[in-house]
């Protein structure tokens, strides 16, 4: 499948407790410890999927779309990770170099 490279620069935001953190602006779901059959979006495997992209967020600006599957993040393979690990990796770096796969996009 085609791997779409996306570079995401995080922006400063406030987390629910009021502290300043770097936010990307999207939600992920999935992971090898999750059951993809229970996903409401109907995903077909245990990969990490983008389930929501907030408007005006760095994710939207960088071209990330909903239902994208993240294949790599900063060189780290995301096709066989647990959910928690995926979250940790994403939160680690301020700039994310993602490789995503999108349904229906097979060629540039």
């Amino acid at each position: 499948c085609l791997q779409i490279p996306i570079t995401l620069h995080k922006e400063l935001g406030l987390d629910p407790e009021g502290r300043e953190i770097l936010k990307c602006g999207f939600k992920i779901g999935g992971g090898i410890d999750q059951d993809y059959r229970k996903s409401p979006q109907g995903y077909t495997d245990n990969g990490i999927y983008v389930t929501e992209v907030h408007d005006g967020s760095p994710a939207a600006k960088s071209g990330l779309r909903m239902h994208d599957k993240i294949l790599q993040c900063n060189g780290y393979d995301f096709t066989m990770v647990t959910h928690k690990k995926a979250v940790d990796y994403i939160k680690k770096h301020p700039v994310l170099n993602l490789l995503v796969a999108r349904k229906g996009v097979t060629s540039t």
């Binding site: 936010k23 990307c24 999207f26 939600k27 992920i28 779901g29 999935g30 999750q34 059951d35 993809y36 229970k38 996903s39 409401p40 995903y43 389930t51 929501e52 959910h83 979250v87 994403i90 939160k91």
Partner: protein
């Protein structure tokens, strides 16, 4: 009740010190005769196939004032007992006999005899006399003037015949009062019969405060009413002669009606104090039986210490399992050797004195280590014992079931059967489960409790009621409650109550008292139940909504 000997804590302690420990009881001449016939008796028992050849127990429970004198010879168990061996092997272990106390009763524990009977019944007799007197007073007050008991009212110089008739006449209102009086008396009689006319459950050492208070009240009330009555009648007769206000019959009837009312209210108070007050649970009582550690916890209301003791005994006899004194030491199978012996060697031939010191220290250490490892022995012993009990129990149940199928077939076969009544059927069926039953009873040390006759009677009973084998086996498998043991079903059971507080004081938090009988002692601790604070928590029904927890999504 007030006059009887008071069993205070102090006297209990002194009698306790005189009482000797468990298996050394004082006894009287009869035991000597038992000794002489023991050998013959065990041979005689050899004829009965059920007889425990190698375990003979002589129980002499003729009037020992509530003490069982038990002599037990536990001979080594031989699994071949079922065959006809008539030899009584050696190795008997007998209980030691203490010196003979010449035929006298156990001091301080009268179970029979005039003193006890007096103590037991004086309270009830007094109550009965007083109650009957009080009950008959209204009747007497109404009837006596008519019968002419009061000379002042008789026709004579002071009271003319016409006046007497007028005084004693009974109009409509008076008749109404008489009817109501009659009904009230009937109600009072019915109430007293329902609640109070019964054999007292217990004889208590101190006075029963509530009952005494009620009786005093009844006495005072009756006395006061009679006093005023007599004064009224005689004064009234006198005043009627002089033409002043006289007392007429209607007021006398009204007077005795008010006496009946008062008696009814006293009856109500008695019911509340004696029957109802202690029903609401206020305290938590924990009863621990001493030799084997069985315990139960109950909730109890407000009672005096002696009444609480009676209450505890009621529950003890109906809920606690039977105490088996033979199970104090678990029967060890003969294959196990004794504990390991600790050997130490003289390694170096050193100084004697220092060697002795180190020897003694080594001995102490050895003893300590032996004690540490004895818990291991206990664990394995208990485990082993439980396995054996389970094995024999399984065999017993199988044997019983087989035996019972025999008897069913005998019932169903119409043609060749000789109809037998239950006793004969029991005797016919019994031998096939006798061996398994006997082995089970031996392993659980229950044989002294069940004799052949009682087992046969029980079996006949079960057969006549169409019970299943397991129902027949229930009294042997479940040794509870205490009253199931026929030896405990005596008309009078004596227990000694020991407490630091005065026995007629009410129980309160932190009180501990002890009940003793022979080896068994029940220690009771009382704690107050907490006051419950129930708060209301309102749950908003709108918050009763749920969201599906999906494949968890995290926002980053």
């Amino acid at each position: 009740m007030e006059t009887e000997s008071v069993k205070s804590a102090l006297s209990e302690q002194s009698s306790r010190s005189r009482r000797s420990r468990s298996h050394t009881h004082r006894n009287n001449h009869r035991l000597h005769s038992n000794r002489s016939t023991r050998s013959t008796r065990s041979h005689r028992k050899g004829d009965d196939p059920m007889a425990p050849f190698q375990t003979s127990v002589t129980l002499s429970d003729e009037n020992r004032d509530g003490q069982e004198v038990i002599e037990v010879q536990i001979l080594p168990q031989d699994d071949n007992w079922g065959e006809n061996t008539t030899a009584v092997t050696g190795n008997t272990s007998e209980q030691s006999e203490v010196e003979d106390v010449g035929g006298g009763q156990w001091p301080g524990e009268p179970d029979t005899g005039f003193g006890f009977v007096c103590h037991r019944y004086v309270g009830s007799v007094l109550t009965a006399v007083l109650s009957v007197a009080a009950f008959l007073s209204p009747l007497a007050m109404v009837v006596l003037p008519k019968l002419g008991f009061f000379p002042a009212l008789n026709p004579g110089p002071t009271v003319g015949l016409q006046q007497r008739l007028q005084l004693l006449s009974c109009g409509a209102e008076c008749k109404g009062l008489l009817v109501s009086l009659a009904f009230k008396l009937v109600l009072l009689a019915a109430g007293a019969w329902a609640i109070f006319l019964r054999r007292p459950r217990a004889t208590m050492p101190r006075i029963f405060l509530f009952r005494a208070a009620v009786l005093v009240l009844v006495l005072v009330c009756t006395f006061a009413y009679w006093l005023f009555y007599v004064v009224q009648v005689t004064e009234g007769a006198v005043t009627s002669a002089t033409g002043e206000e006289a007392v007429d019959y209607k007021s006398l009837v009204a007077y005795s009606s008010s006496l009946t009312d008062t008696l009814l209210f006293i009856h109500y108070l008695a019911v509340v104090l004696i029957e109802i007050r202690h029903l609401q649970p206020t305290y938590y009582i924990k009863v621990v039986r001493s030799p084997d550690g069985e315990s139960r916890a109950y909730s109890i209301g407000q009672l005096s210490i002696q009444r609480a003791a009676v209450w505890v005994l009621e529950h003890y006899y109906t809920e606690f399992p039977i105490y088996n004194p033979y199970l104090e030491r678990l029967p060890v199978s003969k294959s196990r050797k004794g504990g390991s012996s600790f050997k130490f060697y003289d390694v170096d031939g050193m100084n004697n004195s220092s060697m002795q010191q180190s020897q003694s220290r080594a001995m102490l250490a050895a003893h300590a280590r032996r004690r540490d490892s004895s818990h291991n022995e206990r664990f394995y012993e208990e485990h082993d014992y439980e396995r054996r009990v389970k094995k024999r129990k399984a065999r017993l149940i199988t044997a019983a079931e087989e035996a019972f199928t025999h008897i069913k077939r005998l019932h169903n076969d119409q043609v060749p059967a000789i109809p037998m009544d239950p006793q004969e059927a029991a005797q016919a069926v019994f031998p096939s489960l006798a061996r398994a039953l006997q082995k089970y009873l031996r392993v659980t040390r229950q044989q002294p409790r069940h004799s052949v006759e009682s087992i046969l009677a029980h079996l006949a009973d079960c057969l006549s009621h169409d019970l299943t084998p397991r129902a027949f086996l229930e009294p042997f498998l479940v040794p509870a409650p205490v009253l199931q043991n026929e030896k405990e079903q005596k008309p009078v059971q004596t227990w000694a109550l020991i407490c630091e507080e005065l026995l007629s004081r009410p129980i309160s938090h932190g009180i501990t008292f002890q009940l003793r009988q022979n080896d068994v002692s029940l220690l009771c601790h009382i704690r107050a139940l907490p006051h419950f604070n129930i708060t209301e928590e309102v749950v908003d029904p709108k918050s009763n909504k749920f969201v599906l927890r999906l494949n968890s999504e995290t926002s980053v």
